[in-house]
Symmetry: C2
Subunit: 219 residues, 2 copies
């Protein structure tokens, strides 16, 4: 049985290695968790002793099979709870992260499975992230980062890669929601900002620092 802190470190390693397959550095984990690098080093030793990660001094860490499984379960719980909060308790997508951070540590296999059933086995959470099934399988789909679309392209918004409250509130302002259609009216070479139409009505300029955090399915 893991402590909350151990679980958080596992999840951080999982998250960081999603992007780049190389070993995860102490500093990156510390940054992800807002802790001192020294604390991370301690924890890496502990997780290594429990065989949840492979860790060599100064060489970073990566998850073992077992560690990966545990981290995946945490992600599953986190995303199921987020879905619950939005779908059943009417939270908005910018409010749920912090609460799900707590709920994901509740220990009960049965609870997770019942929750999954109650939600009707959702495959994506309110931010468009895939929810691993009970066997740890993620549903894959072809997605493009909005900033890679060109003038004339049209897509459907299917996810975001930044879950910060402030970022999501801004998206609300722009009418950006999952499932909405977005068309690129023009793209400005100056800074790669986009002029887009979202849904039926709204037209906006979206700077790259926003568009790079939005996933679309090309229409």
């Amino acid at each position: 049985m893991l402590t909350v802190s151990e679980e958080n470190h596992l999840k951080a390693i999982f998250k960081i290695s999603e992007r780049n397959g190389t070993p995860v550095s102490t500093n990156k984990i510390a940054h992800e968790l807002n802790t001192a690098a020294a604390s991370v080093t301690d924890m890496l030793k502990r997780l290594s002793a429990k065989k949840l990660i492979k860790y060599e001094k100064y060489q970073g860490a990566h998850l073992t099979e077992q560690g990966n499984q545990l981290a995946t379960r945490l992600v599953r719980k986190h995303r199921l709870w987020e879905t619950f909060l939005v779908e059943k308790l009417e939270f908005s997508w910018d409010e749920v992260h912090q609460i799900a951070e707590q709920l994901e540590h509740i220990q009960s296999e049965t609870l997770t499975e019942r929750l999954d059933a109650f939600l009707d086995y959702p495959r994506f959470d309110p931010h468009g992230d895939p929810i691993p099934d009970r066997n740890g399988k993620f549903t894959l789909r072809k997605q493009h980062v909005l900033d890679s679309l060109e003038q004339g392209d049209t897509g459907i918004i299917i996810g975001v890669s930044n879950h910060d409250t402030d970022f999501l509130k801004l998206l609300d302002e722009l009418q950006v929601k999952l499932g909405v259609t977005i068309s690129i009216l023009s793209k400005f070479d100056y800074d790669d900002s986009l002029k887009v139409r979202i849904g039926e009505s709204a037209e906006h300029i979206i700077p790259k620092n926003i568009s790079k955090n939005i996933y679309v399915k090309k229409a």
Copy 2:
């Protein structure tokens, strides 16, 4: 903001003082929480420093107004989560206590209120215990302990005062559920055990150690 352990101690004090209004002893808390008395002493000092309890060495402790409020909120959360687990996730009443023990520590006012609304503001949990409302008010009702009924009496089962899995499983066996009618066919002077009819069909002998944990509303 309290730690989980602080919250558990508050809740224990609350629970013990429900029955008997006198100050709560170190030993009773230790027994309730399965810890050493020395650990409780430490915690009492801490809670006292935070003004959540009144504590005098060797004289036991009782909740302050503020402590009572926090403890009541914990009870509220615990019972709401139990209700959620039974009503929405189809857990049985003997499975929910341990999970609710974890869920009650989730910190989010909004979550509690949304959950309450989602459940349609239940006033009693799956064990028949009253759920305090957002202001800490409990719904009172006249209840009798089953062992106090006499031959010929009839009542409706409205609660239990023991939440142990094994106890509740035994009640299931006896067809004891909330809302069911129970009639006292006879009462044996030897040990105060009762011969009862439960619901339509079942007839059983119920020993006092069981009947003393069942609440009924007299019909």
